[in-house]
Subunit: 341 residues, 4 copies
């Protein structure tokens, strides 16, 4: 599994890039939000959650992003600091922006929705000038999230990041994380996702997200291997395609594929499943584990997070995940499937 | 005090026009918002608060405004319904707008601030076509709030309202309610405030707000009587100028002025003082009371609201206000000053 | 005809406010513009044309407006200077704006059209701060054009002008001059036209333009006297309603009405008819002539301009108009109708 | 010189993509534009000029672009038709856009400038959906111009074009053609130029334009060979760097470089030099000529165009260019320098 090479001489393990926002989670759940009276505040945003996850797992982590010049922005920066994340590249925006908000509505474990505030948000004011070549150069890996591509100047900041990452051998994880409300059209989305994916080492997305990128080619029927091979022609070594309830499959440039194991969970809400999976999975890959082991670690992390009220605040440590896997293996059974093309 | 004439044949007493939004009040108070973890949700927005106040006082009340097509918008409409406010002119906006938010921070009773979300808000999408001539014609009085003038098409909807109100003898209360973040410049603000104030019967604002309207004339020193007389040349009969801690003064077209009484209060926060004052004051005027009585009623309502956690939800009934005044008069003393020019 | 009072102690006779642009008139005419190969450049824009007309008639004239910081802007300012118009309030805009353009297409004398360039034009960047109270105070009369109301900040600059004009007794001529391409909606247009017309002494427009202002009242059938009386309730003393081929009618506050005479013309194009009419008509009113005389002077000026290739450059002197009227009266006959309500 | 491979089975030789606009050339030249009274209308825009040049040279040429729904737009489409260019992918825009304009000012042969109208122009409304995969597939070569990258959705339409071109082996010529007024920032420009250049076979630009693309890497001193090699790592086979008066140099992936010859010209204006050069140069490459021959052909075409009043209308035929070269070689001498790294 030597497809990804992490340069051990680099001081940082991991840098998250992009969205830093606030989750306001309904305290009174299992009802429509109209009937919710109080909300609890957490740090949110997919790359923020993953970075917090990586820090909890003991990785030396930094973040590149912009926060609003207000109480919400200061809360986010303080929370990252408390979690040991380097915030030297977290910039206080001065464009009179606000902090993105996500009010969560949990009608039932399987019926969850989010009410988003994404107008004039600080994270999309990230600029190319905010990206320091030295900072990128000094990290073994980084993660970009697709929402950061949805508007200028954040979009150009991401391409600047990708340029430096490729120049200096920093491994790029691309979490597609498609959120339609920030984009002008699906055509626009497809174009910039493709340009970013071409420069990424690991691409993670749902089957629908990969379909979106393929709309320009009007491919008749979605096919995971065809999709994966498109990206292996560029820089990708691993492509992870999520099939909802049916689980995720990882495809590798050398022709292997692996199914994700599934762990039992006492599901409170499904939010945060993807972010905790990503943290566990990337951690495993960076530890040099085989792909199935990394996937198992990600799945276990996800099972832990969806059983609790928050996303960021519930990110587990490595010991917690190991203990969880151990308990499951001695009790209920996880399922592991493996395939070769 | 026969300066205002309310047409008793009209079925509605009062219509609020403009902003409907959500207050998210910090539950853990007396600290910076960074340290607040949970928030409670209330209906907010100055004209919403005043209208709720009027309904609590037993007036037949309606509202003209737009709410977002989401859980917050539905919560607002349901809350108005529950308070007996006619919502036939409350329109669900379909411009992908959001509901305005106000997170309150209460560091101490005298150190309160608000973190506003006002980008792409539903209330500023109110359109001239939303204003039904018959609805305006059928109300004795209406209230417009200055924030509704800050952007098109809401601005034009307000001028449409004013046109119908003057045409049909509906008494216009204009609450200046200046919020700088929605405006492009102070010049722009001054121009539209002046155009609206020229068509209003009662104008209520702080000394600073009246100064803002006078910036175009570069008047040397603010003077309440000069200010009031400017507006008496147009449609105004009463001008209320608020001087912060020093209290409010009402000026009348026939040359009288009256100071507001001050009631003792166990202040939790200062938010909502102006809105509850306005509700009590307008109620008194509509009952045909003398100006000092109406002002006393407004002051008492304000004292009640600033002693509780919310604004809208704490609006008192007439009985509560009367009881409060009675209790105060038999205990601590309110002060009433009267002046004649 | 003592309805308008011009203060003879004021040094300036007339100030134009608003649009300064460039006409590019087809040299090869009587064909579609696709087949026109060369164009000749003139100063254009309704208030510019009228001001040039007033200056040619010997009136001491000034202009308030913004021009682009480019060759077209400099050409305009130089042309005004050459015509003796005071340009101390013509400001060079620094918003990277351009000069408005109007390419004229003359398929036949009765089939003319204009291709407009009105995006990001300098004239609509006129700001309230550009309006000097002293300059307005020092003029006997001024003219505002409806297009200047179509966008901020020019819209607010016009209302600032109107405020100073009313304050200092400067007579306001309002040329409605409706051009749909600059406006967001007809509702928006109607609102601001009404607010400006309420503060004007003389209102000039087509029947369709007055209908537009009345849309908010959904009046069943347009009626000139009803229209005129609406405005006489505010500041208007004269209302001129143009009925296309059927000519214009002037209505006065004291209940009189007068038809415009029609002069024979060797029509090249219809552009500029309204502007030259306005110049002649306003000149007559300012000379203290009776209304029919002023209207005849306007009609004669129009007949001269539509018989030549340009608008601004063809504006006649008083002697030219008088000679033209004299020639017509001794030859072909003008028609004068008069009515009293 | 077998670096570029043109697939002879494809029916089209060449497709231009992007800007179609109007040049308005001063008829009275050698003076400031303020003193110019008449202008002559021509089709303009760099890719339009090059495509017209290619058609004149006998190549089967098409164009992909949007024109305004007005007389200027129809004039452009008719002119392309007359020149034998396929306009099946020239779309009439319905966004109320206008046609871009370029007023030329020719103070002297060496002191020329352009006054641009680029707000709300039709060509920048080109959409990804306008790009037909089959049309790109059917052409041996295509040219994209950097201005088409300056705004959405035209920017995304260009990347769609590049995707299809690479997929189907259509040779991509990228004319950087940097025009600052359409861009938000130099950072933004650099990012998208780089992404497009990475997918191009031949990149043509000035030394300053290549510097702009390198700003992200803060390279100390511009160096042509370093620049060229950056692009040879991607898809480029030829990089042409223009050094103003000192002429252009072509660099090839196999390590050669060639200076452009210079032809004598009776210069009227410098506009159109680059476009005519590009047409002649691309024509030569597509004919399979050696690089120096293609460059000579381009230089001769440029010498012809700068000696005449227009750009598009002056594009020469192959016979005219050959005759010009022949005449020059028998009279004044062109200079050819060749270098090898």
């Amino acid at each position: 599994m030597a497809q990804l090479t992490f340069d051990s001489t680099k001081p940082f393990d991991f840098i998250g890039v992009g969205r830093l926002c606030i989750d306001l989670n309904a305290n009174e759940i299992h009802r429509p939000m109209e009937e919710t009276l109080t909300f609890t505040k957490y740090v949110g945003g997919s790359p923020a959650n993953i970075s917090i996850g990586m820090a909890r797992l003991g990785m030396k982590t930094g973040f590149i992003g912009r926060v609003a010049d207000d109480q919400m922005g200061r809360f986010i920066e303080q929370y990252l600091d408390k979690n040991g994340i380097d915030t030297s590249s977290v910039i206080t925006d001065t464009n009179h922006s606000v902090t993105g908000l996500a009010f969560t509505e949990i009608k039932s474990p399987s019926d969850c929705s989010i009410l988003m505030y994404r107008d004039n948000v600080a994270d999309l004011y990230l600029e190319p000038q905010d990206i320091k070549e030295e900072y990128i150069k000094n990290s073994k890996a980084l993660l970009i999230s697709g929402t950061a591509l949805s508007k200028s100047p954040s979009r150009e900041a991401v391409f600047t990041t990708l340029h430096y990452a490729r120049k200096h051998g920093t491994v790029v994880f691309f979490d597609i994380d498609y959120r339609p409300y920030s984009w002008t059209s699906e055509d626009e989305t497809a174009i910039y996702y493709k340009l970013a994916a071409e420069k990424s080492d690991v691409i993670i997305g749902t089957r629908e997200e990969f379909n979106l990128m393929e709309r320009i080619d009007k491919r008749d029927e979605p096919n995971d291997w065809s999709t994966a091979k498109d990206w292996f022609k560029h820089e990708a070594k691993i492509v992870v395609i999520k099939h909802g309830d049916k689980g995720s499959i990882s495809y590798t440039k050398n022709g292997q594929s692996f199914d994700s194991p599934v762990f039992p969970a006492n599901v409170i809400k499904t939010f945060g499943a993807g972010d905790s999976y990503a943290a566990g999975f990337i951690y495993g890959l960076m530890k040099g584990w085989k792909l199935p082991e990394a996937m198992e670690f990600g799945s276990a992390a996800a099972a832990i997070v969806i059983s609790s009220h928050s996303c960021s605040d519930a990110m587990p440590t490595a010991d917690q995940i190991k203990e969880f896997i151990h308990d499951c293996n001695n009790g209920s059974q996880s399922i592991q499937k493996e395939g070769v093309q």
